[in-house]
Amino acid sequence: MIEIFWAELKRQWIQQRRFAIDSIAGIVGLAIIFYGLFLTTQYLAGPTTQFGTRLDSIVVGYVLWTMVSFIIGDIAGGLQQEASTGTLEQIFLSPFPVAQIFLLRELARLTVTLTQMVAILVLLMVLTGRMLTFSPALILPLISVIIGAFGLALTIGSLSLLIKEVRQILSLLPFVLFVTILVPVETWGMPARLVGWLLPMTPGAGILRDLMARNQGLDWGLLAIAFLNGGLYFAIGWLLFQQAERVAKHRGRLGGY
């Protein structure tokens, strides 16, 4: 598993280096957005100001939003691309579960993107003299949200395996994310809040809002719910992907596009 992760990381690095202009353009774009956040937070951050109006909160909100939208669409997009270029069946000839390979690929991409983001933020802090402070407590709810995002990614990936063309579904993603990440379920009364916690990623996003916008401490009970939520959506995504793989093999539609 570690070998595959390193292999995927190496592939990412090769891509970044080989298509340097594209990579640099991406990094410059990211740097401009972050610089914009440093200058005028509210304007550029848009809906992610839900996570608080302090610069640290805005930055975390923006990173969370970007990462989640990036994760959810990427596995489906990757499957679609591999099917059209004719390499997907070679991946299915691996003895490792294909869902695992695509998750590790995603994790490698995430690692590269996060490294770039951190590097840009450090550079901006040095250049502008504005310091960001992040509580280590943010990491746990962030992880719960990412686990849930991986589950959703596998769910959309399983659709991609079966129907191949999922561009329209992917275009709906920002609206789904708007509901799941930005709606303040934690402020709802019972039993609506319980129902809200069943939505993907909502408990983790709620904890982040509590920590950053409301300056509350980490609610361990809610954190457990967040991990349960993330784990549930991950398990659903994993099972759906296995099922989609079985159906695609039964229909003989694995490699076709």
């Binding site: 070998e3 270029t85 390499t87 069946e89 003895p95 093999k249 003989g252």
Partner: protein, 319 residues
Amino acid sequence: MARSIQSDRVASDPNILTAHQLRKAYRSQGKEMVAVREVSLSLAKGEILAFLGPNGAGKTTSIKMIAGLIRPDQGWVRICDRDPHRQPAALKLVGAVLEGNRNVYWRYTPAENLEYFGILRGMSGQAARKRGAELLEQFQLSHKRQTLVQSLSRGMQQKLAIAVALMHSPALLLLDEPTLGLDVEATEDVKRLIREIVHQGCAILLTTHQLAIAEELSDRVAIINNGEIVTEATTADLIRQFSGSAYLVETEHSIPAERVRKLHLLGVDLQTERSLHVTDVQVLYQVLAILNPMPIVQIQKDQANLTDVFLKLVRGAQA
């Protein structure tokens, strides 16, 4: 370059591949279309089976069922006693180059492709790099190891795809149209590599429309038509079976009328004024005695080739 093949580890079943009574049907607009019915194949270590058939006969579906990429409706597949549909470890024993697919990443170099796919097949990074370098050497691609695949010739891309399929030293190699679209030199290269691979102990299931290549390389032939195997035999037996017992005798000059009359009495008629067909082997030497001392250009036994066999079987089934 000798290398131990994974099949060495499996001693219980003499066959590397056993496919038993495979059946696959698809539903289209409410109708069932049977793509493959009751296909059984077996393949031993170091053997090449040419799996032939017209377009749409069911070759690729069968190969993909063997590779675990399409689930059969009925029947089963064993690769060294393992089921590729239920035991993922069976996939470590199989490599495949699938027709119509790129099989490799075009935006990466041969060395990068080999390393990546080696790791995906369960090798460590170090072992994959070492094996990749060996294969590049064997496949005469070392000088292109750092060139992007998209810049390689079609022949080189195909050789790389075969090398990628061999990274984990599989016991079974599935080659679906490996010489399709290649020029003469690249085709010869691929044929040489196939001989080398099989010499190292790998079993190869080969589909091709180039029947001369199948005849040259294969130990056995299976012909599939309309989803069913119509014949399976050793290549030599099949050709013998479809070859006649007649001889063609050709002389340098026209055969004089007196000799023609004598040949008639033996029941032999001329095909042209310089050639004749001897269908009864018993009279061959009497025919030669009649022709003696005329210069003879050739005496040739009526020998079928795989193309004749293929066309007879496939057209026979269509009639």
